[in-house]
C-alpha cells in the first residue's frame, strides 16, 4: 500500500465542495451519508440539497431516480470513495442507462473518514476509470481547485452522465449533525425540486 493521499493532494473535501457549490444554483444535489452531508449543510444549506444520514452507497441510485423522473433538470450527487466502492454496481446502471442530466462528483480521500480514517482501496482502484469503462460519457480526475473549477464548469455544459473525481485530503471540517428531521428533509427537497 502506498501512502495516502496518493498524489500529494492539497485541498480538503470542504474546500472542494465549496468550490463546486459556488458553481451550482438550484440543481438537485443528493449528498452521501457521513461528513460530506454535514459539510454541505455547513457550507451552503439549500432546500434543493438532500442530505443522507444512512443507506451508504445509495447516493447515486437516489440521484439516478431523480434524474430519470426529471429529465429536464441537471441532477448532481456528492459521493465519496468508500460510498462508490460500496455501491459500485450503480456505476454500471448509470453507464448503461446514460442519463444526460446526471453529474457524479466524487470526493476521494482514500479513507472512511467518518469512522476514523480506515483506508479504502481507492488509492489503487481509479474510480473514474471504472465509471468510464461502465459507460459514463465524461470522466475527469482533478487534484487542485483551479482544475476542479475549470472542469466542473465544462461538465455543466455537456451531456452526461459525467463523473468529476476530486482527490482531497483527509481533513474533516467541524460540522454538526444534520439539523432537520429526515421526514422534513424529504418534504423540503420534494417541494424544492417540484
Amino acid at each position: 500500500m502506498t501512502m495516502r493521499p496518493e498524489e500529494g493532494t492539497l485541498i480538503s473535501r470542504a474546500q472542494a465542495m465549496a468550490a463546486v457549490l459556488e458553481l451550482l444554483t438550484d440543481q438537485p444535489v443528493i449528498v452521501c451519508n457521513g461528513f460530506p452531508s454535514r459539510e454541505a449543510q455547513k457550507i451552503a444549506d439549500r432546500p434543493t440539497h438532500f442530505y443522507m444520514i444512512g443507506s451508504m452507497g445509495n447516493a447515486p441510485a437516489i440521484a439516478l431516480g431523480v434524474a430519470l423522473a426529471k429529465p429536464n433538470k441537471q441532477v448532481v450527487t456528492f459521493d465519496g470513495d468508500g460510498n462508490v466502492l460500496m455501491g459500485m454496481g450503480t456505476l454500471a446502471t448509470v453507464g448503461a442507462l446514460k442519463p444526460k442530466n446526471f453529474i457524479h462528483v466524487v470526493f476521494d480521500n482514500e479513507v472512511y473518514g467518518t469512522t476514523g480514517n480506515q483506508p479504502t482501496i481507492s488509492n489503487v482502484v481509479p474510480l473514474e476509470k471504472v465509471a468510464k469503462a461502465a459507460g459514463y460519457a465524461h470522466v475527469v480526475r482533478v487534484l487542485d481547485r483551479e482544475d476542479l473549477v475549470y472542469e466542473f464548469k465544462d461538465l455543466l455544459k455537456q451531456d452526461g452522465p459525467s463523473m468529476l473525481l476530486v482527490k482531497v485530503n483527509e481533513f474533516q471540517e467541524e460540522a454538526e449533525r444534520i439539523l432537520l428531521d429526515p421526514p422534513d428533509l424529504t418534504k423540503r427537497f420534494m417541494k424544492a425540486i417540484a
Partner: protein, 165 residues
Amino acid sequence: MIDSDVFVQSLQNLGVNFFTGVPDSILGGIIAELMNRRLYTPAVREDEAVGMAAGAYMAGKMPAVLMQNSGLGTSLNTLISLNMIYRQPCILIVSWRGQGGKDAPEHLVMGEVMPQFLDTMKIPHRTLTEKTAGDDFKWIAEIYQKQQIPVALIITKGVVKGLHP
C-alpha cells in the same frame, strides 16, 4: 391465475408510474409485460432499485420495486435507513421463493422466515391471491398513502402467469 397484463394494469390504475427491480422467475411474466409497455428500469441490486425508487418518489413518481425475497436481505439497510426514517413510500412486489420448503436450498431459510422478517422490520405485507386481488391492490395503495413507508405485496408461485406456464 392472474394475467401479467391485468396485474400491471392494476398497479398502473393505482397510479404506479415508476418500475424498477431485479428479476425472479416467478416475476418473469410481470417484468416482460412492463418491458413491453416500456415502463421498466432494470437495476443491478435490490438496494440500488430501492434507492432509485426513493429518488423517483421525491421527484413526483409513485414507485414499485420488484424483487425475489432474497433481495429483502440485500436491500434491508436501504429500506430501514432511507425509506422508513425519511418517510419515503414504495410498493415492493416480492416473490415468495422457498415457500413451504419446496425450492432450491438457497431459498429455504428466507422462504420460511419471510413473513416474520417483514413483521420485525415493520414493513406491512399481504400475500396476493386471485380471489382477493381487488382488495389486495386497494390495501397496498391505502398503506402507501397513509403510512408513507414501504409496503410489500407477496407473489407466490402460480398466482400471476409467468413466462413458462
